[in-house]
Symmetry: C2
Subunit: 468 residues, 2 copies
Amino acid sequence: MIPIQKEDSFSEWYNDIVERAGLSDKRYPVKGMNVWTSYGWKIMRLIDSYIRDELDATGHDEVCFPLLIPETEFKKEKDHIKGFDSEVYWVTHAGENELDVRLVLRPTSETAMYPMFALWVRSHGDLPLKTYQLVNTFRYETKQTRSFIRVREIHFFESHTCHASEADAQAQVEEDFVILERLMDRLCIPYSLLRRTEWDKFPGAHYTVGIDTSMPNGRSLQIGSIHHYLTNFSVPYEISYETEDGGHEHVHQTTFGMSERLVGAIIGVHGDDKGLVLPPAVAPFQVVVVPIPVKGKGETVQKAAEDLTRRLQAAGLRVKLDDRDERPGSKFFDWEIRGVPLRLELGMRDIEGGVATYARRDSGEKGALPLDGVEQGARSMLDEISSSMKAKAWERHLSAVADVESLQDPPAKTLRFGWCGEELCGQRIEEEFDLTLLGTPYGHEGERRRCIVCGEESEKLGYAARSM
Amino acid sequence: MIPIQKEDSFSEWYNDIVERAGLSDKRYPVKGMNVWTSYGWKIMRLIDSYIRDELDATGHDEVCFPLLIPETEFKKEKDHIKGFDSEVYWVTHAGENELDVRLVLRPTSETAMYPMFALWVRSHGDLPLKTYQLVNTFRYETKQTRSFIRVREIHFFESHTCHASEADAQAQVEEDFVILERLMDRLCIPYSLLRRTEWDKFPGAHYTVGIDTSMPNGRSLQIGSIHHYLTNFSVPYEISYETEDGGHEHVHQTTFGMSERLVGAIIGVHGDDKGLVLPPAVAPFQVVVVPIPVKGKGETVQKAAEDLTRRLQAAGLRVKLDDRDERPGSKFFDWEIRGVPLRLELGMRDIEGGVATYARRDSGEKGALPLDGVEQGARSMLDEISSSMKAKAWERHLSAVADVESLQDPPAKTLRFGWCGEELCGQRIEEEFDLTLLGTPYGHEGERRRCIVCGEESEKLGYAARSM
């Protein structure tokens, strides 16, 4: 099988990588619901562990809410239900019985959590309430599905917070940006923060900041979002608290969520024609050790490889010893597809020279790594791989934005232009040019351009792209 | 509020502990679907981490299968569907559409996994296939629900294996017993292995071994099970492999599963009138440090408490510094309810004497722990607490079994008696005496008694109890 080239057809390349790297199996008999195979799940679990690290460190408590939401609760916030009405799964029967109240499989957890928040929050002393959960959510996607990027069962984290004031909620949004930066740093994923248009914001939100990265085909991929809800949910769900002076106020709420799309982003942003390229932080194996046997010296080489593996593992690295009875070239090929960041080969010449031959997955660079102090040497090299992957990815992300004066025959990039901010012009941009208006840069001010549609001068910039 | 005494009413005591220790919130608006609050979820996550440790160490790969199973796949194994027919949730609609094929929320994952296993297993080289997942399962319980013990959304681990022969599958069952022993050791939970009766085995299984522990009210609580399936599923799901000599055989399968009932078992087995008593391995906080302020010396005490907390945390212990502005007695009370294994108090006299005053949650024992080498001292004490909790629990478990000659007015214990093994006698035991026949000891042979019903001499022992 000849691998498909990334530049030729991103879409087929992507599907090919997912299959050949063993990340997910989409032959499960429900369309858009895929099986997490062991290797893909290990990557996701590493990402989850960093999410937990960051949210725990910022005082969020992990909870786990039920999957099923009664229709009565689900329908309390009107905009919200309108946004999800056409894409939720309904449980209508249990055993032989028809249920009195139908149950929805959570598409997101606002309507599961907020009736409980109303019980948990009583006084100002209970605030801020900062919670999160890692669960699967369900959406009946009607568009073409794609592993990790558009699926019907979605692995997901969502933080939900309640605050005494709009300003406190705003400060939470700012903290979310810091958490996001630390997370994306580990995943070597560049991103833009774009405040979504009014008609594209999360149903029920005051405003939504989309977190977007760019795919090699010039399309934009939303990998998460941060929402400020004001009191839009706390009013219908009656989440209020007693203030210090005995009054009663509704809480101000925020959420922050990202999904398994992060895996899709890692594949798309870093992968190459040889397969997956994994950032060391999320690689199930950071190093693969391959013994290169020589006639009569097989045992010496094997022992040295085992020793090297043990030393690196003892130093806290995730290391695979590949001592299968296969040609070295075939092993190299396998681990390249699977994106292992660093390969260490050990042959008799290496052993005699006191080195291992290394090959970096990201750059293809090869050389000799001294076995003396190999733990520190391998760790430094992994750090270097991370930095280099991050720098390259950011460079590509920034150069994937093109300033345009017209939307006629635009380049396959994210387009930046003047936009007056009015819905009428926004809708024209989307409908006439078949683009998604991603919104305006979060916090951006000052650069005056003319609206690409109406010509009105404005401080706003618009971003648009074809989305995945 | 006066706490309910464990001995007076186990059932009310249990519910009271769950609520006051903040393990779960059952006010969620779907009956039997409870919210995992932060403290309870931390305990569950620690248990999950040990499950992962043990299954990873024995060569099982973690996977994650979709929640929803098409009715067509679900109905392939006839006994299985009969067993679950009355207690599954059905998804019948998505958005505005009625689905062509109804989808079942997994009550367990055989019928989700096995169509995929049929694709994954091709040749003898693919065997054994050893997988597991940690997911939530769903059963429409009609009996009275109880937090962790009988719920409708169940947090669960399940390992699923495929083998070349019945003997290999049997060897897997033996390995499961070893894994189980190591897990229960960490949780300080005693248990019995009982081969279930034919009419109580898992639907579709060749045989089922139930893992039972005893609750203080004399009832038996099943906390998990291990099943040998032979080829009962691999035939309908067509999971077969090419043998070394080119033939084709169906695989032999096993499963092993345990649920959040482990949390229920920890509460019931170890708790006392003051609240929860957590085994150190699953305690979110293993040590709570309580500064005992003295007038004018508050800062010294606070600093010493912070220093002690940091030292213990640096040594890898999970430690909470409780420096809230509350009376020490009220803090002691709070952490006793929550079951923290070890309390360290620090007052001026302690500091001057170079010690902390310790109080063990399990025994109530108090004394002085030298601050010099306190890391090792605290660790040893936690080990001692584990050993002592385990020994006490095993003693109670073994003494909760009573040998009886008649089932008339039996003691509130697990009853052991002769049973010929015939269904007719078994059914009489269950129906006439309102007991659950738990089965016969796994692997037991040799002790001849007369069947308690028909008088026939037999090598079999029967175990029966009222179950939770």
